[in-house]
Symmetry: C2
Subunit: 332 residues, 2 copies
């Protein structure tokens, strides 16, 4: 743990803060919070999947988000990376910079964080807290049998391209909520509540990722927008694709918006944390069964092709002209 | 990876940034930077040691630090936690929030980071970058055979207490440098250069931690100051201790300062990243051999006792009255 050069004068200290909000007994870990390191005993033969994400206020979440939802989301976006690899979650670490010790914030944040952790049977094994501009950095650990991880590099020519979605929900709902917060769009209150929850409380598709082991040839989670994220799969797999913009799952809230906004949200919305994945055409029944067993839906949106690049067409086969850059934390 | 709600308009994007500064071929990892997760194949039977630290500008480092030293230090403070567990380093992840893409900063930061990584034969396996107030969050992974990790809880009554130090250097040098930056103390330029390097470019005692497996009964790295850090060992081991303030290793730079400042720096300085550890008295020759093999020195500073609490005496056995709180990121 690094020493602090300078510190805020607070009513509660760092070690008290960790003890009060972020220490629970280790169950699976050999050693949890409170020593220099946590100790995990990997299951024999399994590979360890690791991902880390940093969330910054105003950039990855709005100041208006409820602390409980923020705690959920901070872990969810990390679990989503495990889902995209087909890894089973094991544990996580949390590093947290806070401008001040705000007990109501910490109560809510810890509640949301641990509720999602408990849902997946994983535990917080270590971390760090410091004063500073609000910043949440979580690192997650999962396990996957050798050779079964879903990689971005596995898409093959002829594979179907699929995306997951919640029953009744679609891609782009999180972006639609953001546009509503920005005052760019209006919608019915019931729709806003639904898309706001999609933005603030995403569901990592862990069960789907596990069910797609041995079925999908590649996978990625949709964080930066479908076209950009799918572009990573195409680049790493050395293939191209055509997708049907009209096949993209669309919620009732988004369906009520003008076509241009629907296209923008579904194709490039970001923050959805659904899975985009590829599978051989003859695996379609297994894909549907995997989605069903995971409590979500999956829809075929296109096909992998040899010609490089991503082509977007509508239901009639006409090219959809617009290009939407993926979210990038340093441009667009 | 979480999507960004809003982004800076920059000349270089997030993915280019990762590719240019933070992507190198995976050597030991099954899969390195560039997919949703990294994949590590743990060695059969070994436990995985994990630690995470977050560094914030103005709190863990001064804006005056050279980027190369900052890259070194950000990884060093994490490796120090592995050292304190007796774990062999394997890999690390890096999450980085930057106010802007500053090529000179990134060049230097990456150079310092990878130089230390190469020194320990470890690799960057994943990460995240975002725009935001400067924040560096590294998570390190190491391995240790079951039962051989050095824990804070293992100190036993009668054990000697030791601290490591560099030949010619001591505890408190980093704090002395900080006080010089703050304008509180003056010293010869040659001394300032030495203590500044101790503050900005600490040496994680990895080799010592490995050599102390099976020798030391407990260990902790000195990040927040000797009395506070040793307090964690005493609390978790359910013991007390007496230490001799005059036995603490002291550099020539610090020895030239008034007694009160020497006491404050050596006893509570923080940011030293030496190891404090305990060992049965009959292990003293093996401790000395371990330090020698690790290229550092170790000195006995006290003894573990049954009576709770930490007693500080001078060379004549007189109580040293001052109490120094440990650094705490939210108070003092």
């Amino acid at each position: 743990m690094p020493a602090s050069l300078d510190s805020l004068r607070m009513s509660i200290g760092e070690f008290d803060l960790i003890a009060r909000w972020f220490t629970r007994p280790a169950r699976r870990a050999v050693l949890g919070v409170g020593d220099d390191c946590a100790l995990l005993q990997p299951a024999p033969g399994m590979q360890m999947a690791i991902s880390t994400d940093m969330l910054v206020e105003g950039r990855h979440f709005l100041p208006t988000v409820a602390p409980e939802r923020l705690g959920h989301k901070a872990l969810a976006v990390n679990l989503s990376d495990l889902a995209a690899c087909g890894a089973a979650p094991l544990a996580f670490t949390l590093a947290l910079a806070l401008p001040r010790v705000d007990e109501a914030f910490l109560d809510g944040f810890a509640r949301g964080l641990f509720a999602l952790a408990d849902e997946h049977g994983i535990e917080l094994v270590g971390g760090d807290t410091t004063a500073g501009p609000l910043n949440i950095c979580i690192t997650v650990f999962g396990e996957v049998p050798p050779g079964l991880a879903l990689l971005r590099s596995g898409a093959r020519v002829g594979d179907d391209i699929w995306v997951s979605h919640p029953p009744g929900g679609g891609l782009g709902d999180a972006r639609l909520a953001l546009e509503a917060f920005r005052g760019r769009v209006a919608m019915a209150a019931v729709h806003f509540a639904l898309v706001r929850a999609r933005m603030e409380r995403p569901t990592p598709r862990i069960a789907l990722g596990l069910a797609l082991r041995g079925v999908a040839t590649s996978a990625i989670d949709l964080s930066d927008g479908l076209t950009g994220d799918l572009g990573h799969v195409l680049a790493r797999s050395g293939v191209g694709a055509t997708i049907d913009a009209d096949a993209l799952p669309t919620s009732a809230a988004l369906a009520a918006q003008p076509l241009a906004l629907r296209r923008e949200c579904t194709l490039a919305g970001g923050d959805d944390y659904e899975l985009a994945f590829t599978a051989p055409a003859d695996q379609a029944p297994r894909v549907q069964a995997a989605a069903s067993s995971a409590g979500c839906a999956a829809v075929r949106i296109g096909r992998i092709e040899a010609a490089p690049g991503l082509r977007i067409v509508d239901a009639r086969g006409a090219a959809v002209a617009a290009t939407f850059p993926a979210f990038d934390h340093f441009k667009t």
